[in-house]
Symmetry: C2
Subunit: 331 residues, 2 copies
């Protein structure tokens, strides 16, 4: 039995290419004292990984050339010399783009597939779900009846944001790329409306969908969409800034022109990264698992088969080709 890993082969400028990744094979390692060996079952692909491919200053240190790509995965413990984990346990954590991972337990938690599938722990019941929960409820703090807009609304985070907004009695409006995604966001996820940012009349559509203005804008994409949304914000609006995927591979950064709206409307815009808020995770996960199990939060997923497909799936995700959570099935 061999181990497959995807390592960073070169740092992309602009959009990553498949050649920026390399698939390598090696023997499956043995866990040392205090370690465990995990056979990964599902790998999560997330936009933040694009930033980790850059050398520059960011909120986490970059992946080095030749190192395994960072990423969350869910797997099964194959052997353990760690007191807290036993063979057969299912775990989720930062296990990387690989079929087998050696872990010392840091960042790992045990999960069970009782009421929800294991792969949900990479999506709505995992980091993306907690990101949506924390960003919307703690920073956005929407009140019943308010209008919540979320970009990348068909994505892993955005899809949960809008559904939580609905559960809290808000009007939920998605922004997504193309009519197929928009139709799922409304038809499957129950948003009140979804606006296609690629449409020529995007601004008019957004205005029509937000007749009372926008109270909370959960931002995942940045750039032009943010600039246009700023003009619809209500006084004392809140903008949880979760990501700006449109900018991660941009060679020229977008110049935001409507900054004045932040002053005129006394808006709070706050960048956040969910890993800073470990204390918020347990309660959020409990609530999310409950909602998913009860069918009140639905999951959209795109699944690639096999680790070799991960680079292509990741590149596609950055282009918005996936719908919902992008996963790679490893076993």
């Amino acid at each position: 039995m061999h181990r497959l890993q995807v390592v960073l082969a070169s740092r992309p400028t602009g959009e990553p290419k498949e050649a920026d990744f390399r698939l390598v094979e090696s023997a499956v390692p043995e866990p040392g004292e205090g370690q465990l060996l995990v056979g990964n079952l599902w790998l999560s692909l997330d936009p933040y990984m694009r930033m980790r491919m850059n050398a520059g200053r960011s909120y986490a240190k970059p992946v080095e050339l030749g190192e395994v790509m960072v990423g969350g995965a869910v797997g099964e413990v194959l052997s353990s010399r760690h007191a807290a984990f036993a063979k057969g346990d299912h775990v989720v954590g930062p296990l990387g783009w690989q079929t087998h991972a050696i872990s010392d337990g840091s960042g790992l938690r045990r999960v069970e597939a009782k009421t929800i599938p294991l792969r949900a722990y990479l999506g709505a019941a995992g980091m993306p779900g907690v990101t949506a929960h924390f960003g919307l409820l703690e920073i956005g703090a929407p009140k019943e009846g308010e209008t919540v807009v979320v970009s990348a609304a068909a994505g892993a985070v955005g899809s949960v944001v809008g559904q939580i907004a609905k559960l809290r009695g808000c009007r939920a409006i998605g922004i997504a790329g193309g009519p197929a995604k928009c139709s799922l966001v409304v038809g499957e996820l129950g948003f009140d409306a979804c606006v296609d940012y690629r449409a020529a009349d995007f601004e008019q559509q957004l205005a029509a969908a937000t007749p009372q203005g926008i109270d909370v804008y959960f931002e995942n994409v940045g750039g032009r969409v943010l600039d246009r949304v700023l003009l619809r914000m209500n006084d004392f609006g809140r903008i949880p800034l979760c990501g700006q995927i449109s900018q991660y591979s941009a060679t020229e950064p977008y110049g935001l022109t409507n900054v004045g709206a932040l002053l005129v409307h006394r808006i709070k815009l706050q960048g956040f990264i969910v890993s800073d808020h470990a204390e918020q995770w347990p309660a959020a996960l409990t609530e999310l698992e409950h909602w998913i199990g009860a069918g009140r939060i639905k999951m959209l997923e795109t699944i690639a088969e096999g680790l070799g497909k991960a680079p292509r799936a990741f590149i596609g995700m950055l282009r918005g080709e996936n719908i919902g959570k992008q996963l790679v099935k490893l076993a």
Copy 2:
């Protein structure tokens, strides 16, 4: 005796011109029942007035063509048919660009020139002071030892921001236009350093003045300065967004490119307008009066003589020609 008033003659595009204002003369009016007549002594000129000259959507309704320009002033009650004010009282409030004002008392408060001069109620002991106090302490929330940077540091608000930061045990760094202002900001006001944004090596100077990065950036100017400062912000930094004077007369808005720093460093940027926070004024004013009286907050002032000079002084202020609080002496 006649009344002089400055009315809005035309809406400027870009920088206002003197011809956008008109000086008009009329008889001094009599107060009606529930009104009082104030003889204005000092008029305050403030950047926000530029926005009120535009027709567009802003946080307050625009001044109409032919209407008296809005503005804070301090004056003496000449006659009163209002229960709360008596002849001889000194008052401060929204009395406008005019030598005599009829008021129904709204927004007016009685002040005394016991420990500080009357005109201070238009500056450090008035709206600009409370703006500095609220924005820095409530939104910026600096901790002892942190680095606070403020733009328009020689201005009415910025000069108080840096002095409060020093009183709170912070490192205070100003940004101002030209060596003369910078020298006053350090020499007179006691900032730790001041960086000239017009200097060719502005970025290097800013980096040298903030070796530990920036924790709080109190923003008055917007545009390029904001963009450069974003690159020096520390994790979990706070940006009270008070104004963006560089943009008020801009025909092309500046395109802010370093928005990504808000995410990477998990920064909170919050627009605010001090008039939204009436409940904060009494305590802030008490503290500011105390500090000014005790010489712990110093005031820089530029004084124009006579209402006829107000338009020219206002235009100069928008260009940064004044130092400290821009006042017009009316009597």
